[in-house]
Amino acid sequence: MQVNNEFRPKIVAFCCNWCSYAGADLAGTNRANYPADVKIIRVPCSCRVNPMFILRAFQRGADGVILCGCHPGDCHYTTGNYYARRRMTMLFSMLSYLGIEKGRTRVEWVSAAEGAKFAATMNEFVETITALGENKRLEDLRCKK
């Protein structure tokens, strides 16, 4: 997205309800700063995220997509994030194979107590995506205005 001739990335963050979403909350209550470019979508578990969600986010104009969940071993549903981890590894591998820039997708484990980590991760991710620029290789022109 261009704002005043300056590129502002649109970032979608899928956060699991039990850890990362609470982590984002904590970042807020602690008044830790992270850019408003990050749009959070709350999901029950990181495992709920279908590869399709990530592709859709790109289609609808996201420049970067990050998935946050409980640390491995701490999943509210015991094993959800283990499955998510494998799935995302394979998806990232395929995206890279198709020539999509590395780094446009990311997975980070953030617990409910890690407000600072949440903010730091988001700052870092926004920086990466800003450097990568607009998502051109996975865009759907019809969805861009």
């Binding site: 590869p51 399709m52 592709l55 790109f58 289609q59 491995p72 071993g73 094993t79 283990y82 499955y83 981890r85 494998r86 799935r87 995302m88 590894t89 394979m90 998806l91 990232f92 591998s93 395929m94 995206l95 890279s96 194979y97 198709l98 020539g99 999509i100 820039e101 590395k102 780094g103 997708t105 990311r106 997975v107 290789r137 996975l138 865009e139 759907d140 022109l141 019809r142």
Partner: protein, 324 residues
């Protein structure tokens, strides 16, 4: 081989072991035999088996899942892997199927014959590694190896992994088939080159869904691509995003379940190198989670429905090798 198969099929039909036979009969063209069901000894007249019989019969067994009686099926090595995979997913019942394994040293692709000047193909005969192609304009003697389909050139295994009886001698696995060579070549390219390569491939797709229909791993009763309300059922891709999406999702849905039978690439009317997507997943899963061959063993647990506590993190993809 055809006569031996016919004879066994008639015997098994006649003595009531099976009530139907799943095999091939001539299609519209001699080079395009289609899967067919035979229910009487007389109908077996039309049974054919030759080096054009490439289609994988295992998927057709799903149709008989809820029907009475045993089905006789002829399975080539790659088809037998698919059969095991369908068993694993409870899409066929082992007891309801009588499997005759047929050894295979590759099937002939019609387009390769055309390249060699065969027009108006009427039939094929095989003598060892020589084939005689009968055409409207006379016979052509060719070397079989030079006319094999792409997938047969990098065949992972000549072994029928599940059967009740075997016609002829069973083959062996072929680990040095080099099936990942092309994947490796792509991995060594820059992202820009890869992007260009895949645009060139995927933009040819006309979304005919043939690759999905033929795939023995694509065995869901209801598929999102059958649902007109999904907006993605069957329509030509409008832009590069849709091309990517269909192919990523198709390959993803069969990831860990794809036996690398090669049917998808074989039937694609646009000759898109679909196996390069499937093989990428197979290769990556082998590297990340240990060697796994879908369908080698019935009941095995595929990598994507499994995990260990110390699996690699997704970021490994970005750090693995430079240039990747």
């Amino acid at each position: 081989m055809q006569e031996v198969m016919k004879k066994r099929a008639s015997e098994l039909l006649a003595d009531g072991t099976v009530v139907r036979v799943l095999g091939w009969k001539n299609g519209e063209f001699a080079y395009d035999p289609t899967p067919a069901v035979f229910q009487t000894v007389e109908s077996l007249e039309a049974f054919v088996y030759n080096d054009f019989c490439a289609s994988n019969l295992s998927k057709y067994l799903i149709k008989f899942l809820r029907q009475e009686g045993k089905t006789l099926v002829f399975l080539k090595p790659c088809d037998s892997y698919s059969f095991n995979q369908l068993l694993t997913e409870h899409r066929v019942i082992r007891e309801n199927v009588y499997i005759i394994g047929v050894p295979c040293d590759g099937k002939v692709a019609e387009d390769k014959l055309r390249e060699k000047g065969a027009e108006g193909i009427l039939g094929i005969e095989t003598e060892g590694d020589q084939i005689k192609v009968k055409t409207l304009y006379g016979d052509l003697d060719l070397n079989k190896k030079e006319c094999l389909g792409e997938r047969c050139l990098s065949c992972k295994s000549h072994q029928v992994v599940v059967f009740d009886e075997m016609l002829g001698e069973n083959g062996e696995e072929n680990p040095d088939c080099g099936r990942f060579d092309m994947v490796e070549k792509l991995e060594a390219m820059t992202p820009e080159q890869r992007f260009e390569f895949w645009r060139g491939e995927l933009s040819k797709c006309i979304r005919c869904n043939a690759c999905r229909n033929i795939c023995p791993a694509c065995s869901c009763e209801k598929c999102v691509f059958d649902n007109p309300a999904s907006g993605i059922s069957q329509k030509a891709a409008a832009d590069s995003f849709e091309e990517n999406m269909f192919h990523i999702i198709r390959a993803f849905h069969v990831a860990g379940r794809c036996t690398d039978c090669g049917e998808c690439s074989r039937v694609c009317p646009q000759h898109i190198l679909l196996h390069l997507l499937n093989r990428k997943f197979i290769k990556e899963m082998n590297e990340c989670y240990g060697e796994y061959q879908a369908g080698a063993e019935a009941g095995s647990r595929a990598p994507l429905v499994n995990f260990t506590m110390d699996d690699c993190e997704p970021s490994i993809i970005y750090t693995k090798e430079a240039g990747k």
